[in-house]
């Protein structure tokens, strides 16, 4: 008896986008990254429907992090206050597909550094590495609206992925990203409807839907991962059903969220195994889970976790050309 055909096929697909501009394209990147394009759910359907291979963006902070656990500081201890070198290390030693510059240091509570600093960091990282960049604000609306347009300008023409914009704060950054030719991250607090609303608002401003990546918020293993998983799955299914407002690739913030988990960093817990292993394991488990829900870019931190996740990706998407 033949095995019945159970493959679903869908009318829609995830938008395929290419981040980074090479010299030919008016930028200075030595390579570009293409994501999206899936015409089915992960593991579903034909190999050629799987779309582009997901990528890892490694976090580089603009300012030396004060609260990182020892296990995470260790691989970067020489470069934590040198964003350029840090980025270089991530790309050359750890195989980062993209660098995500996270501007924590501009936050009023975390250094309150100004636009000059942020611009300098941006230029430094652009110079140090050839991969495309993700430029991610600090989360304080007022400060982001003041600084991120300058950051955008400093990377003009590089086709970076810049963000984040939210329902109640999207106008300034959307306008500048449009002007500077970047891609935009639209964010929502684990709410599929609000995610769609932000996309509509941004597109009402004339921003092309094909230049948007969505961030649905991320929950780490044990800390709401099921919400993140189900929202991302819903977004993928909406994209496949032909909803243009939900057809964007997805980015996840696995690194930051995983390392917030006490299981990842608590030292005095003999029954839990070596603390040096737990963090990378937590990050790996969170990342692989969300990849299966349909994440296209995973932001990560620990090199060992990155290595494992990249191996996972290469196996799952191995038949891809």
């Amino acid at each position: 008896m033949p095995v019945p055909e159970v493959t679903d096929s869908f009318a829609g697909s995830v938008n395929r986008i290419t981040l980074g501009a090479t010299k030919d394209d008016g930028g200075t990147r030595s390579s570009t990254v293409t994501i999206g394009g899936a015409k089915n759910v992960v593991y579903g359907g034909l190999v050629e429907d799987a779309g582009e291979t997901p990528v890892v963006a490694m976090d580089v902070l603009d300012s030396k992090p004060e609260d990182w656990p020892e296990a995470l500081v260790e691989p970067y201890k020489d470069v934590l206050d040198k964003p350029g070198d840090w980025a270089k290390k991530c790309v050359e030693e750890f195989g980062a597909d993209l660098i995500c510059v996270k501007f924590d240091g501009i936050h009023p509570d975390k250094g309150d550094k100004g636009a000059d600093h942020a611009v300098k960091v941006t230029e430094e990282v652009l110079k140090a590495v050839g991969v495309p960049l993700v430029l991610w604000g600090c989360g304080n609306n007022e400060k982001d609206n003041e600084v991120m347009p300058k950051v955008s300008g400093a990377a003009k023409g590089e086709k970076c992925l810049i963000g984040i914009v939210e329902e109640d704060n999207y106008k300034s950054l959307t306008a500048i990203a449009l002007a500077d030719g970047h891609f935009l991250i639209t964010a929502a607090p684990l709410d599929i409807n609000i995610a769609k609303q932000v996309n509509i608002l941004v597109s009402d401003m004339g921003f092309p839907l094909e230049r948007i990546v969505t961030f649905q918020s991320t929950g780490a293993l044990g800390y709401g991962i099921e919400y993140a998983y189900s929202i991302q799955e819903r977004q993928r299914l909406a994209a496949l059903s032909g909803d243009k407002m939900m057809a964007m690739p997805v980015i996840c913030d696995v690194g930051y969220e995983s390392w917030r988990a006490k299981e990842a960093k608590m030292e005095d817990a003999p029954g839990w195994g070596a603390v040096a292993d737990r963090g990378p394991m937590w990050e790996t488990a969170t990342a692989t889970c969300l990849l299966q829900a349909g994440a296209d870019i995973i932001r990560m931190r620990h090199p060992r976790a990155v290595a494992t996740v990249k191996r996972f990706i290469s196996k799952v998407w191995k038949n891809k050309g």
């Binding site: 329902e167 109640d168 106008k171 709410d191 409807n193 609000i194 769609k196 609303q197 509509i200 608002l201 009402d204 407002m245």
Partner: protein
Amino acid sequence: MRCYLQQKEFGLGKKTQDEHGKKCLVRFEPSGLKIEVPFGTVLLEAAHKAGIYLSSICGGDGYCGKCKVIIDSGQFHSRPTTLLTQDEMREDVVLACQTTVLSDTTVTVPKSHSLETSQILVGSDAHRFSQLPAAVRAGLFEFDAQVRKVYVEMSPPTVQDHTADHERLYLAIREQVEASTMQTGFRILQKIPAVLQNSGYKVTATIGRRGECTELIEIEEGDHRAKNYAVVVDLGTTTVAAHLVYLTDATTVDTEATYNSQINFGEDYIRRIIYAEENNAFDEMQNRLVNDINSLIVTLASRKRIDLQDITTVVCAGNTAMVHFLLNLDPTRIRREPYIASASFVPPIRAAEVGIQINKRGLLYCLPSVAAYIGSDIVAGVLTTRIFTKRGISLFADIGTNGEVVLGNKDWLVCASSSAGPAFEGSGVKHGMRAGAGAIEKLIIGEDGTVEYRTIGQTYPAGICGSGLLDTLAALFTCGIIDRAGRFKTDGRFKITEGDEGMQFPLVAGDDSHQEIVITQADINNLVRSKAGVFAAIRVLMESTQTKLSDIEAIYLAGGFGNFLNVRKAVTIGMLPDVPIEKIHFVGNTSIAGAKTVLLSQKAMNTAEEIAKSMTYFDLMSHTGYMDEFVKASFLPHTDLSLFPSVA
């Protein structure tokens, strides 16, 4: 001045014996009303006692900031609040609910509180729907009023015909009226022999339906059929409206409305239930409502020169809580799990028993309700719009403090109540007001941002009522002054100003004697939430019954919006589904129309009971899909733009 008061505050802990017993005379300007209250009485309470209306959404909890008054003279103690500006504090503006009086005090009540009771809108809306209810007119229900006066001429008893007076009267009545089971009260029974004999056996019998039974309510000598009136009442949370009906020819002779004076205890009924519970004020709640009804009845009767004795019937419809307050039935479980009413079907009772002053043997009928949050006003709406008789599916939405929605046809009816909030009634909106004189009821914003409007009574605008708010929200959206999330755009195209409560759009410029009228970001958020609640309820009912948009043949929108409701705007903002506009009908106050139908036909009462029994109630709070639908609907017009092809 405030410093002095702060010192005063200090001394409060050491209240002397004298102060405890001291009385303070509080005088309210500009009305000049005075009240003597004990030392330390809360000003809001003093105002209530003096019969002064002060707007108070939170019911005295100190967080709505609506009960602002100005202290002209006297000593008082005010608890600190963040709801007053520095300027206001300098001018001795206080929150009445946070202020206690410590001496004789004179208080000025700002104009914004005043209710202008005599000018509440019943006007053309009332007239449009005031005549013989369509259902009766259309012959759906035969004319068979709940209380009738029957003139009977009997042949006096003889040796051959020795039927007793009482039975003789029954027989004569039954010749005219179908009344297989009859009963007579003891006092009337005692009256019968004398009245019959004095009148030569020509009497008027007043008979009232009490379910299957017909009661002989009154007996009078001679023919008094021409003197039979009834009052139908809509017990609104905000407004109590009454129509006077001449039962002989079933015409509405006059209408009147007043504010529900329970409003002092909270602008929504949940708050009033809490207040009544905490202060054991159930009697007071009843008294206030009954007083409102009585004053309406007296106004109507005196205007038409009618003797109160000739009013034999009162029929009420209203939300479940209001009916409970009226009858002094325990309303507390309406707000608590499992959210039940004390009674859904109320038998006819003597109106005098609840204190309604009509003919002392006159009857009070209350329409049946469905559930704690679906009251008899909604049953009345279904009865009025006749959606229960139609093959096609209709949608009925009554927008008040709650947005109740009914979907169905002759075979089934489902209903739900969304806590839409009173935004479209003008509450919770900075310059919102009820549909009364001076309310902007129609508004247009031009492409350049110029505002044109029309007010009720063509006076200088005092605020914006429901239909005006609907117009305003739609115009802000279509002009691009706000984005789809309802937030002001800051692209400089329109004049957005910064007010006390954040960004706002000026609608009417103020001058020396008139306040500026604006719409604030908070107002817009409230309006969007209200409309989202209603639309989400509609979606839940549609999805639960697998009703497609194309299946809906008619939409009836009810509520006290104002007269010039443009139903198109309700679609523009995404409150009602995007159906061809000719399918949407604004039907005004269907609560009172339904009550009138029941007044005029016992069969309609039976039908109302059947409707109430057959409606399936969906509890949205426990419905898993409701929040999802609510968030989707909290967007202009909706997150799923394909649902609104005519707008998006």
